[in-house]
């Protein structure tokens, strides 16, 4: 036993074994990404910046129901509901602010949204020199949403929140009489 | 529907009708029937006056009025075409009768013609299934009808109405 262990320690076999892994990686293909010039492809379920969505006819989906505000664990969302200025029977968000300095990107708000007005995108690199710059208003969120529409749809699909929209039925989802009128078939 | 002219109702007339039933609250349905007999429908003013006389709140009166489908809140045509769409008549083609009337008079079920002569009212069984398909107009039953017979009936009523107007 002692001879065997002596030989082992003299010849540094243990270290060689360890270094073997290191050396094999030296010859493998590099995976370092030159980030600003080169970007990774993200999964559809990636939880990036949250956006607001619209219906096909351009109308904003958000009904100002405050459920995202209620569920938000970081208290990053603030919704002020009011009567829609054009349709007195409809609720809408008069003010909607999402504070990305607080947001923890958990995606709960997207789950809570009864009308799929919220979704997450693959945007992750928004930055600002001020804190206020990261507090997004509804208009900003809508603009971002318009830009990343396919990503937001992909997110909803991969997260199993698209079913009701595809089936064209309002069963299982919430039914809002005014909105069913704007959707095809209702 | 075009603007319909509502009947003019006076409080005194309503008081008289209520008096017949000694102003009993329980007779409200009969009183409303009498009112309908007089005006052809139950005008809103009449409803309010009956409520005032019998001391029944307006909201309750309106509840009674809307509960029974026999009461009408809008003026009706001179000839109410009650077309039976009950089982027996349906089997014998009551649907064709209704369609014909619609086509002839350009009205939907429940509507009046613009000259206020006709009202189409599909009803459930009138109790004379042996005469199916049948219709009832101004209390007279017309049995074993067909679409053509229906049209000639309508013509007949139109003539009648014209005749009545002539002396005036």
């Amino acid at each position: 036993m002692t001879l065997k262990s002596l030989v082992k320690s003299v010849l540094f076999t243990e270290i060689m074994q360890g270094l073997k892994l290191t050396f094999t990686h030296m010859f493998k293909k590099k995976i370092t990404v030159q980030y600003p010039h080169q970007k990774l492809e993200l999964a559809d379920g990636y939880r990036g910046f949250i956006v607001h969505r619209r219906y096909e006819n351009g109308q904003e989906r958000c009904v100002g129901c405050d459920l995202c505000e209620a569920i938000c664990p970081a208290k990053a969302i603030r919704v002020v509901g009011d009567i829609h200025p054009e349709f007195p029977e409809r609720r809408f968000a008069k003010e909607y602010t999402l504070d990305f300095t607080r947001c923890i990107f958990c995606g709960f708000c997207v789950v809570a949204c009864p009308v799929n007005a919220l979704s997450m995108t693959k945007e992750y690199a928004h930055s600002s020199f001020t804190r206020e710059g990261l507090i997004y208003s509804k208009d900003q969120l809508l603009t971002l949403g318009d830009k990343c529409e396919s990503e937001s749809i992909a997110y909803l699909k991969v997260r199993n929140m698209w079913g009701a929209e595809d089936s064209g039925k309002d069963e299982g989802r919430y039914h809002f009489p005014p909105i069913s009128a704007t959707q095809s078939g209702g | 529907m075009a603007d319909v002219k509502h009947a003019e109702v006076t409080y005194e007339d309503i008081e008289e009708i209520c008096e017949e039933f000694s102003n009993r609250e329980g007779a409200v349905v009969q009183i409303l029937q009498k009112v309908q007999e007089k005006y052809g429908y139950v005008p809103a003013d009449a409803l309010e006056f009956v409520g005032e006389v019998l001391e029944i709140p307006k909201s309750k009166m309106y509840g009674v009025l809307t509960f029974y489908s026999q009461f009408y809140q809008e003026p009706r045509g001179k000839f109410v075409l009650k077309v039976c769409v009950g089982t027996a008549c349906h089997v014998r083609g009551a649907g064709l009768l209704v369609d014909k009337i619609k086509e002839e008079l350009h009205i939907e079920p429940g509507e009046n013609t613009e000259d206020m002569l006709f009202t189409l009212e599909p009803v459930a069984c009138l109790g004379s299934c042996a005469l199916a398909p049948m219709a009832m107009v101004q209390g007279t039953a017309y049995g074993k009808l067909s679409a053509d017979k229906m049209v000639s009936l309508i013509r007949q009523f139109e003539e009648e109405a014209e005749k009545e107007e002539e002396p005036v």
């Binding site: 009904v63 919430y174 009489p177 | 909201s59 509960f67 489908s69």
Partner: protein, 903 residues
């Protein structure tokens, strides 16, 4: 008694109880939708199903009476299934729009669906898609969400007796709404909104602006009228979102009126003063407390040094006990002045002075519960529904459910007239004459002179009153087991009001109602704290505790209590204040929420008189005529922002709490006065409203907070759980009271500490009746040919002039309309909404007309809230005051009517 076992718990209950009530007694809650503790059960929602253990039957607990030995299971697999199926059926038609429904989050249907897991219906769904009824300015009816429990219809019928809404159509098409598809036209109490278990009824004012879980609830006392309603003010970020009530809570038992429920928005409108203002070179400029106080203090000190009674004070009677106490302390102790008066002077003082003289107290002899027990109720010169809505509700209940004989004596038909066994229609202003005749009739015990009898006969002939009805009233009053006289604003604002009140006291004295429990008189105060400010001695007549301010011994008493010497002058009320200012004896005026200019006709020189003052300090919330003249305008907090106590019509001392942040730099009135006194170098030493109340209660332990207690339900719409009765003191700061000590002074007044002590009242009354003389001195006010009597009434939808600033109430009643008899209008071809001109001997003014079947043909009635200078111009410019009570006496004026409009 019946023994019932509910879920194994045995309870003994009255056999008249239903299973639901027995379960409640056992401490078990059963879910309900259509059950309401104050109404007859309907049994329509089928959710309160329970299982009878012996027969295995499922019955509805809200309608099934208990039987001896009954064994009930409220939770079992069978019951669970029954309820779940029921919910599935309810959800057949109910839209799943909870996220945008205002009820979502506090919805019993939502909670129940969640609890019973009825997420998926086995039935094919038929979602209703009716458009919402948005016609009304106040309520929104959404037929889709309605589960037809009928609570709204029933509360409107049974509790409010308004019958504004009903079921429409039949079967699946049934909806709830106002009749004939018209706009909702009712008292807008909002009780239907409160009881609706779903979002079928919501209101326009807060529609879509809130979510229930964001709101913070504050239980407080309404400070509009004297009913003393307990309500819940719900706030978000320290601003008021809505006002709700809690079933069974407080004297109002969960009902609140339109003003209480919707009149909260004026306190958060930008028109409110948010900073102190100082007059610099004829202009009011915004300033700060630090700048204003030293300047004001030095000017006040200079005036104070001139002698006693140099500064006058006018206090609104809508302030709390604390404010009133600080007000009189400030004047009597700091400014050495007794020239103080309150808003009660314009009316309620006419009742207060005779009441205090006759009974020694302002606490009422009877409360609302006595109204329910009374056999005969005489209502003279009051419209309780408008003046003190909850008193009106109790009167409706007394007449409707308890079959009390209600006699209404009024010139016009009031809401309660339809419930009255007899309505004696007198001529406008004839209240005092009627009371005189009635009291003489009863106190003379049949020994009436022949001359009197002929005069009486003549009078009734003039009035067109059936003498038989009068005789019936007299007989009923005489033979009544228990009887109550209710009187109010119209009586107080009568030319001979104080005399009539004496007659009224004589009347109830000779009926023996002073001694008898459950009998007496219930005067309806005009504002929330008329009783309180008078008890606090905020008028020149009385020191706190209603002690005579001019009496040396009572002054000594308070000198001892305060440990200072009081050196105020003889003082005076409104009349003496105006006189004193005119003669230059008074140099400064401090007003708290009062504007004397608004009460007198423009020709009356009040403005001119006030112009002679060296210094006017106005503590107010909004701009008015006096503020325009003031040298200092100090922003006062509203009653929603500060804590304070109010004395209700029933004598309850109830707390109103601070529910929102102080508006701008505004402060409570007592704090402003304290700051001024501090700046003057003579601080009163009140550092918090709690300490202030503790001092009041230390000296006057009778004013310890109290409210009507008892078992009651909480939640109102659905989840029912039992709440333990409040402890006898009711409110938290009872412990503060004990901390100060001095409780030994507390009179043991049994279970009803809010009412007057009948023994002390009757002993005082006995000595008073001996001094009184029968007074019959009035002329009947029958207008001449083509003439009308113009008078002013209190509207149900407003309270004082303050609520005119309220956006919500202004939407409900935006302008004052002159009410005219319908027949007269038809005869004169005046249509609704037209303009007419009234001309009196002193001026003319045009009005928009509203024909009404309620008004008498001799009268034209206008809501007082809208009476601006143009309307007041109809009244004589001379200011006349009653020699007995110092109240202004002109309330009615003869006018002629023309359809031409003034250019």
């Amino acid at each position: 008694m019946a023994k019932v076992t509910v879920n194994g718990i045995e309870v003994e209950v009255d056999p008249s109880y239903t299973i639901l009530k027995a379960a409640e007694k056992a401490g078990i809650s059963i879910p309900t939708f259509c059950y309401h503790p104050r109404m007859d059960p309907a049994g329509s929602c089928r959710i309160c199903a329970v299982e009878l253990e012996d027969s295995k039957r499922v019955v509805m607990s809200c309608v099934t009476p208990v039987a001896d030995g009954m064994r009930v299971l409220t939770e079992s697999p069978k019951i669970h299934d029954a309820r779940k199926t029921n919910l599935e059926l309810l959800l057949l038609h109910h839209p799943l729009d909870c996220p945008v429904c205002d009820c979502g989050g506090e919805c019993p249907l939502q909670n129940m669906s969640f609890a019973y897991g009825a997420t998926e219906s086995r039935f094919e769904s038929h979602r209703n898609d009716e458009a919402e009824d948005l016609k009304s300015d106040v309520l929104v009816f959404n037929a889709n969400r309605c589960i037809l429990c009928g609570k709204c219809v029933r509360i409107c019928d049974e509790i409010q007796d308004v019958h504004a809404i009903g079921f429409i159509n039949r079967g699946f098409d049934t909806i709830i709404g106002p009749p004939l598809g018209k706009k909702l036209d009712c008292e807008f109490c909002g009780d239907c909104l409160e009881v609706c278990p779903t979002g079928a009824i919501t209101d326009h004012f807060v529609r879509y602006k809130f979510r229930p879980w964001q709101l913070e609830q504050h239980q407080t006392t309404c400070t509009y009228c004297a009913s003393g309603c307990q309500m819940q003010v719900e706030t978000e970020n320290e601003s008021i979102v809505r006002v709700t009530s809690k079933e069974g809570l407080g004297p109002n038992e969960g009902s609140i009126c339109v003003v209480g429920r919707f009149g909260f928005n004026h306190v958060q409108t930008p028109q409110r003063f948010d900073t102190p203002y100082m007059r610099v070179e004829h202009r009011l400029v915004p300033s700060s407390w630090d700048e204003v106080l030293p300047e004001l203090a030095s000017r006040l000190n200079a005036i104070r040094r001139k002698g006693t009674d140099r500064v006058a004070g006018l206090l609104s009677s809508r302030v709390s006990l604390e404010d009133a106490y600080a007000f009189q302390t400030f004047f009597r102790r700091v400014l050495r002045s007794n020239m103080i008066d309150t808003g009660a002077r314009y009316g309620f003082m006419n009742a207060a002075i005779p009441l205090v003289e006759a009974t020694g107290t302002l606490r009422p002899l009877v409360d609302h519960e006595d109204l329910l027990k009374a056999k005969v109720i005489l209502l003279v010169g009051a419209d309780p529904v408008a003046e003190s809505n909850i008193t009106g509700l109790f009167l409706k209940r007394a007449a409707r459910k308890n079959r009390a004989k209600l006699y209404v004596v009024d010139s016009e038909a009031i809401t309660l007239s339809t419930r009255a066994s007899d309505h004696i229609r007198i001529h406008p202003g004839g209240e005092s004459l009627f009371v005189g005749v009635l009291s003489e009739e009863i106190s003379s015990r049949g020994n009436l002179s022949a001359e009197w009898l002929t005069r009486k006969e003549e009078l009734f002939k003039n009035w067109n009153v059936d003498p038989g009805v009068f005789q019936r009233l007299v007989n009923d009053l005489k033979s009544a087991e228990t009887g109550i006289v209710v009187t109010g604003r119209k009586m107080f604002r009568n030319e001979n009001a104080s005399r009539s009140m004496i007659n009224m006291m004589r009347l109830i004295g000779s009926l023996g109602w002073i001694e008898k429990e459950g009998c007496g008189i219930l005067p309806i105060p005009e504002t929330a704290n008329d009783l309180g400010v008078l008890m606090m001695g905020a008028t020149h007549e009385w020191l706190p505790g209603l002690l005579d301010a001019r009496n040396e011994s009572s002054r000594k008493q308070w000198e001892n209590a305060w440990g200072t010497s009081l050196s105020y002058g003889p003082g005076g009320g409104l009349e003496q204040i105006l006189q004193g200012i005119e003669e230059g004896r008074i140099n400064a005026l401090i007003t708290i929420g009062e504007n004397p200019i608004g009460h007198f006709p423009p020709g009356s020189r009040v403005r001119e008189i006030l112009g002679k003052l060296e210094l006017i300090v106005a503590l107010d919330m909004f701009q008015n005529e006096l503020v325009d003249m003031a040298h200092f305008v100090l922003p006062a907090s509203s009653s929603f922002e500060r804590a304070g106590h109010f004395v209700s019509i029933e004598g309850f001392v109830q707390k109103s709490v601070s529910t929102m942040a102080h508006w701008g730099e505004s402060l409570p009135d007592w704090e402003i006065l304290e700051k001024i006194s501090y700046a003057m170098g003579n601080p009163m030493g009140f550092d918090s409203s709690e300490k202030l109340m503790a001092e009041i209660v230390r000296f006057l332990p009778d004013l310890s907070p109290s409210t009507r207690n008892g078992e009651h339900f909480v939640g109102g719409t659905g989840d029912i759980h039992l709440v333990k009765p409040l402890d006898s003191c009711g409110f938290a700061n009872a412990s503060d009271v004990k901390g100060v000590g001095g409780l030994s002074l507390l009179k043991a007044s049994g279970s009803t500490p809010h009412k007057a002590n009948r023994e002390s009242v009757s002993s005082r009354f006995r000595s008073w009746t001996e001094m009184s003389r029968p007074i019959m001195n009035a002329t009947s006010g029958i207008p001449g040919e083509g003439e009308f009597i113009f008078s002013m009434s209190k509207s149900l939808f407003h309270s004082g002039k303050m609520t005119l600033q309220d956006p919500n109430l202004k939407k409900i009643q935006p302008e004052g309309k002159l009410r005219i008899n319908r027949q007269t209008a038809r005869k004169r071809k005046i249509k609704k909404g037209e303009k007419i001109t009234l001309t009196s001997a002193h001026g003319r003014c045009s009005f928009v007309v509203e024909p009404s079947p309620m008004v008498s043909e001799f009268e034209l009635v206008f809501p007082e809230h809208f009476a601006d200078a143009q309307v007041l111009a109809l009244f004589p410019p001379e200011m006349a005051f009653s020699p007995m009570t110092g109240t202004p006496t002109t309330h009615r004026i003869r006018v002629s009517l023309s359809t031409e409009t003034i250019s």
